[in-house]
Amino acid sequence: MRYLPLTEVDRREMLGVIGAKSIDELFRDVPASAVLGGKIAGLPDHQGELEVERAFQAYAAKNLSPGSVPFFIGGGAYRHHVPATVDYMIQRGEFLTSYTPYQPEITQGTLQYLFEFQTQITLLTGMEVANASMYDGSTGTSEAVLMANRVTRRHKALISGGLHPQYRSIIETTAKWEGFKAAVTAVDAGGLEDLIAQVDKETSCVVVQNPSFFGHVRDFTKLAEACHAAGALLIVVVTEVVSLGLLKPPGEMGADIVVCEGQSIGNGLGFGGPYVGLFATRDKYMRQMPGRLVGETVDADGKRGFVLTLSTREQHIRREKATSNICTNAGLCALAFTVHLTLLGEAGFRRLAEINHAKASELADRVSAIPGVKLLNDSFFNEFTVRLPKPAAPVVEALAAKRILGGLPVSRLLPDDPSVENLLLLAATETATEEGMGPLVAALKEVL
């Protein structure tokens, strides 16, 4: 077996040093009733690398690769071009095969890039402090609500109808089992909701998304003021982080916690994970944050260095009194994010956002010019909603049959809401081309 260095001779010698006659002796604490004779039945034996690779190529061949067809799906995960440098860097063994930097003297590489990452997140969001990442945007949002509950000592979260439906489900699940109230408002496909009137003295936080799941771009400054007047926190969720290259950041609107899905920068679509959650807040709430934090310090020679810090919030120290049970971040995905963002820099990041908006504008104009198709958005970044003259799900299936991945039928995520049955969510990034848009528009005309 190519991964196992011990030879039969080694094993015999080692057993000799241990003073055991056989390997079975070392497993003698296993109760007799659980001892298996031989290996577990019904599973194949080991295979060579070539055979393994072929098996995965066979799985891949049964899927439709977005890179090979016109592609316009978003809905919380976006197809962007990731520079080759990013994947090369994250595959360096010193990053890939290291672990949580428990020994800072020999993990300054990880610690420094996380410190840089934290800084980048504060700049993007307009916030004061950021952690070293969460599992993803969806789980991070739920952690933000828990944090707001801790900060305000209240137990009612008000959830916008423009929040990604799966993010909403996760908050509801957390609320049910961890014991707080998730007040969920009606689905807001039109971007018309006004949450201010619903903020009361029991509200711990209001959770909104910008741009919303349906693509609307909103200014939440007044909502933030209303939250603060009522003693609640405003949580702003961003699922398309590229939008922050162009749009007013949530920090400037008065957000107290900002959670982003960072997948768009540096991380491929990967069928939904692993992604990287970005989590930022105000300095005054620093010690209530979940997750890992990297801080600057000095070493014994007085040289600048970095360490994991404020760990008295965390489970390995605080156990049942911890701010969260989380003990890892999304280290390697955070590295991909920070390498890509460093390549982009100020100029590249802003231009990338401009290109996304321009492509989406073009797509919106062309699709909404199709008879019977109505654009719902008065504002958007790189994703928008259209109402079709018929249910969207079969339309998307018909497009897929023509090898076009033409958007997300909203009913996929909101199957019980008849009002969204005809809604189609379309996204266009810098990867969209005329060779993709032309066939999409033509095919839509055909199937509608």
Binding site: A20, S65, Q118, L124, V129, T139, Y167, T312, L335, F380
Partner: protein, 540 residues
């Protein structure tokens, strides 16, 4: 005198909290570099306006359609060219220890070899680039792949169901404990069963998870053999107990020899048995947790099945479930109907598929950590049933070899045999003035990542060594030799100062963690550096 160009001098401060300064740069360099150890500034100290690491086309001019909500000022990101970016991260990488460099005996973390074929297949077009919300008809291979991994996990654990979506071990714990809460609720017992039992040696995540779900955590003491004290456990069991959370093999690296009695006693009072599967790698292919009476167990794919630790994630924590807990598995459920795979993401979908179930809800967007599933399945297929059994055996053999080879000079915490990790306490350092921390830092100078220190909490000055199956015998022998040499040096009784000065040869010496926590600097600001920056003086 030539001024050093050392740009890394950041915060002012003397020697790090109580750490002896020791011999340092007797021979400074102009750059501050030392051969391959290159000092590296932050990206924010390197950038120049006008530099960029990508070439993007001029965007077509369009009218803004975002309500005039344009970002007013600069984001503040530095501009670097591609070669600068490559050099920056390459230099940073060289400040890290990693599995690829040698023995990484971090107990409880299972730092085993990460095969590169796993990376390759995870990136195949048609796998790595799939959108999670593509029409289900276009991702049949992906769903089949997830189901294939699920089949392996169920078969290896002897459990009937698995929830694939949890993003990490701790997330899996949350999933499993929510499933238990859901089962109790269905029986009308959730209000009455408020207590979760956890051994004192448990991972901190166990009590943190239980407390988050509103349970009261009651610690169970260990006996002098490092196992759960069965009598104390039985005394704590009652109609108010919801579950026990137990790691097996436990965090002392020992198999809970009375586990069958434990699970029987737990079930006898109507409670559930949550097994923390962090150490499944010690028994995979040899013992099925389902045969031990486990109700649910998370599996850290990054431990047992070698998905890369990546500097602290991403992980993946699927949870295997007993028949009693299976109906509560969270969305999504992957279901095969005829020859078609489908994804049930809500109650209506389950119903229309004719599948019984009352899921506890949703824990994560989309379908779980697919990239980790792919890597884990590649690892599993490469090993096969025969190889996985050998993995467990070699991991246990290596740990026992370390224990035997060091047992006469270091102090094993418990009598053997151990499972996949060897636990020592600090009795052998008594009177030497050398602490577990000092000993660990001295290992760094010998070219090793230290073992896990001060965990589990039940052992004084714990040192938990997990060699894994990936280390060749000659490398194990060198590692053992290094520890024997350090032990001998410590025991001279005159080496405490040298130990406290360690490490000397790493990219940084001991860091002042107290300063970091007392005055947190969690981001770069223009005023942070360099120390002679007039902006900083203005800020102070």
């Amino acid at each position: 005198m030539v001024q050093s160009l050392d740009r890394s001098q950041g915060r002012e401060g003397g020697s790090a909290g109580g750490v002896a300064a020791g011999p340092t740069d007797t021979h400074g360099t102009f750059t501050g570099n030392r051969a391959l150890q290159i000092e590296e500034p932050l990206i924010f100290e390197m950038g120049q306006p006008g530099r960029c690491g990508v070439d993007l086309p001029e965007p077509p001019k369009v009218k803004d359609r975002f309500n005039g909500l344009r970002r007013s000022g600069e984001v503040g990101l530095p501009g670097l060219s591609e070669p600068q970016v490559v050099q920056h991260y390459t230099r940073l990488s060289q400040k890290n220890y990693a599995i690829d460099m040698g023995v990484y005996p971090l107990g409880s973390c299972t730092m085993k070899h990460n095969p590169r074929i796993n990376e390759k297949v995870a990136r195949l077009p048609g796998i790595g680039d799939l959108h999670p919300l593509q029409p289900v008809s276009t991702v049949q291979g992906a769903l089949e792949l997830i189901d294939r991994l699920a089949h392996w996990l169920k078969t290896l654990t002897g459990m009937p169901a698995v929830a694939m979506s949890p993003a990490a071990g701790a997330h899996g714990e949350m999933c499993g404990m929510m499933a238990i809460a859901a089962a109790l609720e269905a029986k009308g017992e959730r209000a009455q069963r408020r207590i979760v039992l956890a051994p004192e040696s448990a991972h901190g995540t166990n009590p943190a998870t239980a407390a988050a779900l509103g349970f009261t955590v009651k610690p169970i003491p260990a006996n002098d053999r490092g196992r759960v004290d069965l009598a104390a456990l039985k005394a704590a069991l009652g109609p108010d107990v919801a579950a026990i959370m137990l790691t097996n093999p436990n965090t002392c690296g020992l198999f809970e020899s009375e586990i069958v009695e434990i699970s029987k006693a737990v079930h006898a009072v109507g409670a559930y048995f949550y097994c923390d599967g962090a150490n499944f790698n010690a028994i995979v292919g040899r013992v099925r947790p389902g045969d031990l009476g486990v109700d649910c167990m998370h599996i850290n794919l990054h431990k047992t099945f070698s998905t890369p630790h990546g500097g602290g994630g991403p992980g993946a924590g699927p949870v295997v479930l007993s028949a009693a807990l299976a109906p509560y598995a969270p969305y999504p459920w992957i279901v095969k109907q005829g020859d078609k795979w489908t994804v049930a993401e809500d109650g209506g979908a389950l119903k229309s598929l004719g599948v019984e179930g009352t899921p506890l809800g949703r824990l994560k967007a989309f379908h779980g950590q697919m990239g980790m599933f792919t890597r884990a399945l590649a690892y599993i297929m490469s090993h096969g049933a025969d190889g996985l059994k050998q993995v467990a055996e070699d991991a246990v053999l290596s740990a026992n070899y370390v224990m035997a080879a060091l047992g006469d000079t270091m102090s094993p915490a418990f009598e053997g045999p151990c499972m996949h990790e060897a636990l020592f306490d600090d009795r052998f350092l008594k009177g030497t003035g050398v602490s577990t921390l000092d000993f660990a830092k001295a290992m760094i100078d010998e070219g090793y990542h230290p073992m896990t220190m001060y965990f589990p909490l039940v052992v004084h000055g714990a040192m938990l060594i997990e060699p894994t199956e990936s280390v060749a015998k000659e490398d194990l022998d060198q590692f053992i030799g290094a520890l024997r040499s350090l032990t001998a040096r410590a025991k001279t009784g005159t080496a405490a100062e040298a130990f406290k000065a360690a490490p000397l040869y790493s990219p940084r010496r001991r860091l002042d963690e107290t300063l970091a926590a007392r005055k947190p600097i969690l981001r770069w600001k223009p005023s942070n550096n360099p120390p002679d920056d007039p902006m900083k003086q203005a800020a102070e």
